[in-house]
Amino acid sequence: MLRAAVAKRRGAFALDVAVEAAAGAVLVVVGESGAGKTTLLRLLAGLDAPDTGRIAVEGRVWFDASAGVAVPPWEREIGFVAQDYALFPHLTVRDNVAFGVRAQGLPRREARARADAALERMGVGALAPRRPAELSGGQQQRVALARATVTEPRLLLLDEPLSALDLGSRQAVRGELRSLLAQLACATVFVTHSPVDATVFGDTIAVIESGALTQVGARDELLRHPRSPYVATLLGVNLLRGTLIGRETGGVAHVRTAEGLLAVADPGVDGDVYVTVNPQEITLSPEPPAGSAQNVFRGAVLEIVPEPPAGDRVRVALATSPPLVAEVTRQAVDALGLRPGMPVHASFKATGVKAYR
């Protein structure tokens, strides 16, 4: 069990986060580069010291600013896999993996036996006598994982473990890494900029933006109820914040956002809520719509972007207030003659708007 709350200021950048990870579970910290992911890992590893905060793993305090505790990295019982693996170039693969147990005081022969067993488990036993420079990216990654886990750490820290791999091996390694992490008894903190990796690996996902966690939750909860712009963008939904100000019969409620009123499906709660509008629920028309849609916003088309994979669906960014993204078919774009700068009406029903706390 990891419990950490740390803050670190470096120039204009400030990191201030609290994270938890249960033994055997994987916490994925996902965010853009520069959001503070690597800084967080270095603080947990003890390679840098937080300005304030506390780090404890399985009841052992590794850092406590107010108590003046700062356990150095080599006494923290961690496993750390750096982004580019940092295998020692002057040692064989076997001695790289044996390094940690040797440093713990195990005799050379025993340490090498442990290393060989760890390499065998990772399926790279045959590489033991080689040098790191002779290995492919995927092989280096497996060796780095063997090196980090052979010491049986209490906390495993992975910094973008898949980003140094080419696309082909990434697919294969992703599956292997997932089953490896599932077998580990210790807590794992996995940082990545890849939303795909976040959802594949994270029992719990923490979204980090500009040095702060904007949303933390179980994967399913996070995907169902985005509460951060990052997750909303990732899922491709429109995310708004507002206050529920009243409800009418028929399961419709009204939410006041900073930029206007919305009719939403009654969430059954009061107060401040998040609101998501699925882009596929939004209809575009040049004239005000005649139908039953309770929400109508007028604005100019900003941008038209084809959606992968086939591009037969198109995302249309609108300069409405609040700003919305609609998703329509390519035929609709042609039929309406949509082009940037053209004023349109965006309409959607209250039932297409989800509100939650």
């Binding site: 590893a45 150095p72 496993g79 170039p89 940690g100 440093a103 820290l157």
Partner: protein
């Protein structure tokens, strides 16, 4: 126009060639004169005289001892300079570099004043009946003083060039700083450390000024090769030339060896470790 610029280009090339030729002649002439002055047979005979052999033996023993001392004392200093940012590091760096440009005679006087009978350290040693000046130990200390900057500069640069990722990886793998230094930092910086030791040894071998001030010129005890050359100039020119040629060959071999070692790394990781990313 093109003809004019072509003409200019030719003059430039001629000018450079003349300057380089003049320099090579100036550097080469004295060296060549040394080598051709005395026939090889006579050189060999002069080297094998008891006086020459004693100087050679003393030079080898003292320079090896001083190089060992330089490594033992200089490596921790290089480690601190390379890895710890601290207040006053610049001052320490200058202090450590100073003997490189200081006239060796000044170093000799300083050593004499420090370790002489009335000196700060000399007085303390005197209580135990010890006296350093004009002993073989004084030769070693003089060499240590003048040659340590060469080692420390090279070793510091080498240690500083080792990628910080490796030190981080070692720390997360249970290695305390001492273990990390022995198993990671030092092996990766080894080419620079060895090069520094070789430079330092070559400098110690050629040391003259500080030695003659601090250790004197006692045959068999403090008369090293360079001192024997100096004495030979007044009494026996052929011996002086023979010893000079020997020193010339040793120095040339060390420098050439260092160049070759750097151009053709023997171990595959040397190139990466020595020139690795910052």
């Amino acid at each position: 126009m093109p003809a004019r610029s072509r003409r200019r280009g030719r003059w430039w090339a001629i000018g450079v060639a003349v300057a380089v030729g003049a320099l090579l002649a100036f550097l080469g002439l004295p060296l060549a004169s040394l080598v051709i002055r005395v026939p090889p047979g006579v050189l060999w005979a002069r080297l094998l005289t008891p006086a020459s052999l004693a100087a050679l033996r003393l030079s080898l023993v003292t320079s090896v001892l001083s190089t060992l001392a330089v490594v033992a004392l200089g490596l921790p200093a290089a480690y601190v300079l390379a890895t710890r940012p601290f207040r006053g590091r610049r001052v320490l760096e200058v202090l450590v570099e100073l003997p490189m440009v200081l006239p060796p005679t000044v170093a000799g006087i300083g050593l004499l004043l420090a370790f002489g009978r009335a000196g700060l350290a000399g007085r303390v040693l005197g209580w135990f009946g010890l006296s350093i000046p004009f002993t073989t130990l004084a030769v070693v200390l003089a060499q240590l003083f003048v040659s340590c900057p060469f080692f420390i500069a090279a070793a510091t640069a080498g240690l500083r060039e080792v990628d910080g990722r490796y030190a981080d990886a070692a720390a997360t793998l249970r290695a305390d700083p001492g273990h990390a230094f022995r198993r990671v930092l030092l092996p990766l910086a080894l080419p620079s450390v060895v090069a520094g030791a070789a430079m330092s040894w070559a400098r110690a071998l050629g040391e003259f000024g500080a030695t003659i001030m601090f250790a004197g010129n006692l045959p068999g005890r403090t008369q090293t090769l360079p001192l024997a050359v100096y004495m030979g100039l007044q009494t026996d020119l052929e011996s002086a030339v023979a010893l000079s040629v020997l020193l010339l060959i040793l120095s040339f071999t060390v420098l050439l060896g260092l160049r070759l070692a750097h151009r053709t790394p023997r171990v595959p990781w040397l190139g990466r470790a020595a020139g690795g990313g910052r």
